[in-house]
Amino acid sequence: MANEKIPRRDFLKAAGAAGATGAAMATGLAACSPEAATTATAAPAAEPEVWLTLNATEAAFTKAAVDTLIPADELTPSGTDVGLATFIDRQLAGGFGNGARLYRQGPFLPGKPELGYQLALSPREFYRAGVEATNEWTKKTYGKEFDRLTPEQREETLKALEAGKAEFAGFSSALFFDALLTLTQEGFFADPMYGGNKNKVAWKMIGFPGLPASYRDEIKTYYNKKYDKEPQSIADFS
């Protein structure tokens, strides 16, 4: 098992480093990726796969996780294909990920859940710890890291995390699951300029029109009537 993963990680690192050199390399990578093989509507990744902060293990985990939370179906492509791993990478690399607006003075004490997040870790650090703990748990349970599990095993794993049943050292697996789900759904529904919600697929899925300039008349003319205009993003107005 262990000797299997090292060459693949090296390959991913090499691909990441070489990603900027062109689309041919990236297309090759997409064809090799397990996600492309297992999803019905895999869009060929035309862009190179680069990461600002995620390491290879975290990137593989993130892609597998967002594809489980938001699987490809008739409504949208998979989480990875709509840019959610990219979104998470960018969020964790920036101010939010590094603890902007987070009160980080100690002492850090465990508290009731109602008093909110009390760990000493920034969101970036917490994500790293959560990925490590999840992979340790899946190795113990299934003998493999999360991204190498079957789709059914990934679902089982995330359900165990969600219910707080996966035993993590230091924090509840449910706390990590909630952070992962929140980031994933933020990326899915946020303006596409952040890297997720590619082609406004999530907005199209639900019928959210994005940001038209005005509904001054429409508030009346579309009373109890479907508003079926093409969604507009910030880039469309810029």
């Binding site: 994933t184 759904q185 999530a202 940001l211 508003y227």
Partner: protein, 591 residues
Amino acid sequence: MVTKLKEVDAVVIGMGWTGSILSRELTKAGLNVVGLERGAMRTPREDFAIPNVRDELKYQHRHELFQDTASETVSVRHARSETALPMRRLGSFLPGNNVGGAGSHWNGATWRRLEADYVLRSHYTEKYGAKAIPADMTIQDFGVTFADMEPYYDKFEKLCGISGQAGNLKGQKIEGGNIFEGPRSDNYPNKPLARNFAATTFETAAKNMGYHPFPQPSANASEAYTNPEGATMGQCVYCGFCERFGCESNAKASPNVNVLPVLLPDPKFELRTHAYVKQLNYDKQAKKVRSVIYVDTRTGEEYEQPAGLVILGAYVFNNTLLMLYSGIGTPYDPVTGKGSVGKNYCYQYTGSGVTVFFEDKETNPFMAAGAFGSVIDDFNSDNFDHSGLGFIGGGHISAGLSNGRPIGTRALPPGSPRWGKGWKQATAKWYRRWFDVSGTACNYAYRDNYLDLDPTYKDALGRPLIRMTFNFKDNDRKIGAFLSQKSADIAKTMNATIVTPPRYKNGDYDLRPYQSTHNTGGTIMGSDPSTSVLNKYLQAWDASNLFVMGASTFPQNQSYNPTGPLGASAYWAANAIVTQYLKSPGPLLHA
């Protein structure tokens, strides 16, 4: 090393609603006024411009316009026996920052407190007997009446161009308005906003049950408007990006739109941004504040600004912190019940109701204004008979949807998956087909709900954090059960596909989900210096040249959003300062 500056007539701390109103009224009276704002300048033209102002992730979920909890927060515990922990990130409430304060990112719900709410303890005692009030419930009268405040409500509504329908004009009840409101001297300056599916469906259902629905009074202007100051507002475009955002149409009343355009050019006014007030220099002998110490947040340098008159117009927690940290007044002691600074901290009890889903309707949640929809007041305050109910107070029930921003606003029927294929299908099906029918209730004061200084955790200036000891009580939960059932009864008549079971908050106060930025108390007003911090003119009993503004002055919280009442009381206090205090500086009332 503190640089001492030249004395000014008045210094105003905080440039939100109350600070900007007081600055305007005092400069008009001829005073030289310095406004100190810890944050940066915010102008609608630069900072609230389309398209980037409509960025849900940045403004709502990354808290662009709110107080930065990395440098300043509160610690919280449910009871005195527990150790308070810092609120490490915002959730339950969202205090503002920068010029305009929370007044730049509120939703615009603008109310007048009901007549009985001003004389709360007297009212319930007279009507139901002293035993109707639980022994540890420390509610008080305000020391002023609705009639005292009415002209100032009118003034604030005209400043903000409020859209609404009067329900009681000079004693004459008007169907279609709130017939429970106190008598008004004038109608609202603007007609009500347009109504969406949720509002009209609720209105019809409520009317059929014999209740009295009316449009939510709103600071989102239904028409273009010029206020008495000469500041202009645009017409609301129902963009659905209101609360937590600045308004690109200048259609939401804010200090930035409705006051600052006339205040900033006034040579008698000087605004200093990045000026974070650390302490008031209190002369205990003379019972006066001599100066305020502030830190320039760009350089870290400290300045002392002497002033004849000091207006404290920060948020609830900072008002209370500055009083406690500066040693003004007697800190409240929950064991003896003595002292008053930090006393009667209250909140808002929200979310008692149901969600309705319609398979065959389009509720278009994304076409919305911030303060929007239809409301009934039939179960608010003492508008209904409380005999045998086991609680006092109540709340208003409303429906309307203020937005359809999809990261934060998605409802699914009970039992729907939270993720995966099933979640996608349910989200695609229901996103446009639901609304809440929900009660927002008062929150009355209790002996052991209070604010003091945290013994452990500090802010960026090295001061103790405010420590909040707070939990909801049986009175709240009984109101919750009652309002959620009334909401369900109304919803059941709407022919909805699904009506959720009635829900209300039955557990401990939870700091994580947003509830409301309606924190109140800590520097309360009243008629007895032993049980209040301020007299009825919002003048500190212990410092005659200090006037404190905002929701920290409320002895307890009514069901309504606080901005209307705190706007009116700012004008009331300004009038007392200009017509009484300036002529003869000193205590306006003697203990």
